[in-house]
């Protein structure tokens, strides 16, 4: 047995143990699917993707082959099941000099239609909100941050395990109830990845250690609950939601000990904490435009502080973190410009404001931040060539990201993509900068080939 396959088995076993309920559903689906039903669909894709940092072209940041398999069986109008699995193989790169493989279940659920109620049991991807490329109220399903937010928006969302009920009222409105049995962490980058959110060198250089992620135990009392009510009248789509959840964005619990020179940082532990999420969205067509409003109020969140900006000893009990509420609001505009030579034109603009209710001078993020985003896309030669541009810019400066891509689809089911990601700025320094700027060295050229079947 090769080292790669051993690694693969270990990774699979680790995943299986970490997500027993999803695998139980998956196993039930596979066993149940043994005699193929008439309405069974089996599809997926094979994808080859390679990316290199342009600042150091010999740095292959990743080289991945992905197999995506989807099985959907609409047994009857009242019952269906679905299974979607990703398996991928990473060649050696500059982060890890050995090849690796892994697998995950994106979705695995049974769905029952009970009158006006749809009930899903298992692993499901849940999408809330109207934002694009930025997170506002879309905080139910975790994301794959293994390569930051480089994956396409439709591939980055992961599943959560639980019971999901959608009730449809006769007027067209819907009530969604969620019970997520346990916290499902996002896929975070490896500690030595260029996408790592925690700057290990700075911490270890200060003589402290970085501990592994502290996440909630898989117990009943740690489950998550949510409710969302939405409607789709002609004038506008709207929704309001509430989620009692665990925060996917770990805060850094910093332990202080007494060193020879006085208090000193001894360890940093990324920690997942409870919080309350309240959301509201509206999308309304106005003339030739689509207006979007998406807002989230996050109560009792823990935010990290940066000790270099000042240590507040009153925060020691909370691991030098600030417990506060955060409000985020998005205003968006979509349009289809009628411009010569811009075929199949689409343009989208978003303005996102975030405000930390209880500010602290040592916060590792700004009290207020304003982001602008723009997406432009087109389709040429009967939609076989599709250019795309997406930009996020922090109005405070020194923090922006631009993604450009061209998709080429020469025939059905075959797609080639060439993509360039440009980051500019620096990490937050107490005044300007931010997450995108912190990845300034990660400008990246990526090529992808996909065959769908």
């Amino acid at each position: 047995m090769t080292r790669a396959s051993l690694h693969s088995l270990r990774a699979a076993a680790t995943f299986l143990l970490a997500s027993p309920s999803a695998w139980a559903v998956a196993l039930a689906l596979v066993l149940g699917a043994a005699p193929p039903a008439l309405a069974m669909d089996f599809d997926g894709y094979l994808q080859e993707s390679i990316a290199a940092r342009t600042s150091e072209m010999d740095d292959v940041i990743f080289h991945r082959q992905t197999i995506n398999l989807k099985l959907t069986d609409k047994v009857s109008r009242k019952f269906m099941y679905r299974l979607e699995i990703d398996t991928w193989f990473d060649s050696a790169d500059f982060i890890d000099d050995s090849p690796r493989s892994s697998s995950r279940i994106r979705e695995a659920y049974l769905k029952f239609g009970l009158g006006d109620l749809d009930l899903r049991i298992g692993r499901v991807q849940i999408a809330w909100g109207e934002s694009e490329g930025v997170v506002v109220s879309d905080q139910v399903s975790p994301f794959d941050f293994g390569n930051f937010i480089i994956p396409k928006f439709d591939e980055i969302r992961l599943g959560v395990d639980g019971v999901f009920a959608d009730y449809y009222f006769s007027g067209g409105s819907e009530l969604q109830l969620l019970w997520i049995t346990h916290f499902e962490a996002p896929d975070f980058p490896d500690a030595d990845s260029p996408w790592a959110f925690v700057d290990q060198d700075t911490i270890t250089g200060a003589g402290a250690t970085v501990e592994s992620l502290d996440e909630p135990d898989n117990t009943f009392e740690n489950s998550e609950l949510g409710i969302r009510f939405s409607g789709h009248p002609i004038v506008a789509d709207w929704s309001v939601g509430y989620l009692w959840s665990w925060d996917d964005r770990p805060s850094l619990f910093q332990s202080i000990g007494v060193g020879p020179g006085g208090p000193a940082l001894t360890s940093v532990t990324p920690t997942i904490e409870r919080f309350h999420l309240f959301t509201a969205n509206v999308v309304a067509p106005v003339g030739d435009y689509l207006l979007k409003f998406d807002t989230a109020y996050e109560a009792n969140r823990y935010l990290s502080t940066n000790p270099t900006l000042g240590v507040d000893l009153s925060l020691i009990g909370d691991g030098l973190r600030v417990k506060t509420d955060v409000w985020r609001g998005l205003l968006g505009l979509e349009m289809k410009p009628n411009v010569p030579y811009w075929e199949q034109a689409e343009a989208s603009f978003q303005f996102v404001h975030e405000h930390v209710i209880d500010d602290h001078p040592a916060l590792a993020q700004a009290e207020d931040s304003d982001l602008l985003s723009m997406r432009l896309s087109a389709g040429y030669r009967n939609d076989t060539i599709k250019p795309w541009l997406f930009v996020i810019y922090d109005l405070a400066g020194d923090n922006w990201w631009m993604q450009t891509r061209v998709d080429y689809e020469p025939r059905d089911a075959v797609k080639f993509s060439l993509e360039y990601n440009l980051f500019a700025g620096h990490a937050y320094d107490g005044d300007t900068g931010g997450t995108f700027g912190g990845f300034d060295r990660n400008d990246m050229l990526q090529a992808t080939a996909r065959y769908s079947f």
């Binding site: 609409k74 067509p285 009967n382 089911a413």
Partner: protein
């Protein structure tokens, strides 16, 4: 509600339900007074109307090198009132767009309300109506070719009679008659050939804003929709684009007219099924 694009081509499709109008049962007896252009178009319009439709359509796109791409779509439509129609369509292939669904409420006088469900995104999105001159899904049909149209925005002129594939046809020209429509449309002029006895469109030609012959539509496989329903319709449409050297062939099957359609089809719940 008129489903004619400038002519009785009846490209009824926001939900991608494209079918040539074939006024058969409703065709009025020939009157003593000679028909004008608008008379011919109105007759075709009346006869082509169905209160509801369902069908499966295979759309084959072929480029100048003969390479083809295929999309298969199933769709339903139902008339809600004089000015409103609900349409639903689901992509069956290719695999990368499979289970994508589109729901639209089409209005004669206003912009449509449209929702799109992309399976990979896991959510229903309200989207803007497309520009009328945009092409639908890489085909050679623009959204304008497929929309419900208001006959009052066009001037129709009967310019003569010609034979198409051995069938005698009225030849009718249409031009936009107001600035707003002239601005919106992608065409300076369209010409269509209607069978003189059945008012079926056999052929249509589309001239672009530079007055070039840009596209030609040919309708064929004209037959009753079902053994029980004698109303004939074209079951094959070919749109050839002379500018891009590209063509699109629509093969329509399982076409049913005036069927009882479950209102639940036109729901967001159904989009996610």
């Amino acid at each position: 509600m008129s489903r004619l694009f400038p002519f009785a081509a009846s490209l009824t499709t926001a939900a991608l339900m494209i079918a040539i109008a074939v006024p058969y049962a409703d065709a009025e007896p020939e009157s003593e007074t000679p028909l004008t252009g608008i008379d011919i178009v109105r007759r075709a319009d009346r006869a082509s109307n169905a209160s509801s439709e369902s069908q499966t359509m295979t759309m084959t796109l072929e480029n100048s090198r003969g390479q083809t791409r295929v999309r298969t779509i199933e769709g339903w439509s139902t008339e809600i009132d004089e000015d409103t129609e609900h349409r639903f369509s689901r992509f069956l292939e290719p695999s990368d767009v499979k289970d994508t669904t589109l729901l639209s409420y089409d209005y004669d006088q206003e912009d449509d309300d449209t929702w799109l469900y992309l399976p990979a995104l896991k959510k229903v999105k309200r989207i803007l109506s497309s520009n009328k001159t945009d092409y639908f899904m890489g085909s050679d049909f623009t959204y304008e070719d497929m929309e419900n149209i208001d006959l009052t925005n066009w001037d129709y002129s009967l310019v003569g009679k010609e034979s198409v594939d051995g069938v005698e046809c009225y030849k009718v020209e249409a031009v936009a008659n107001n600035d707003k429509k002239r601005e919106e449309t992608g065409y300076s002029k369209t010409v269509a050939w209607y069978g003189t006895s059945d008012f079926i469109v056999r052929k249509a030609e589309y001239h672009d804003k530079k007055n070039r012959l840009a596209k030609r539509l040919v309708a064929s496989d004209i037959k009753p929709t079902t053994p029980e329903d004698p109303r004939p319709r074209a079951h094959k449409l070919m749109m050839e684009n002379f500018i891009t050297k590209h063509k699109t062939v629509l093969d329509i099957r399982d076409l049913k007219l005036d069927v009882k359609v479950d209102p639940e089809i036109f729901s967001q719940r159904n989009m996610r099924q």
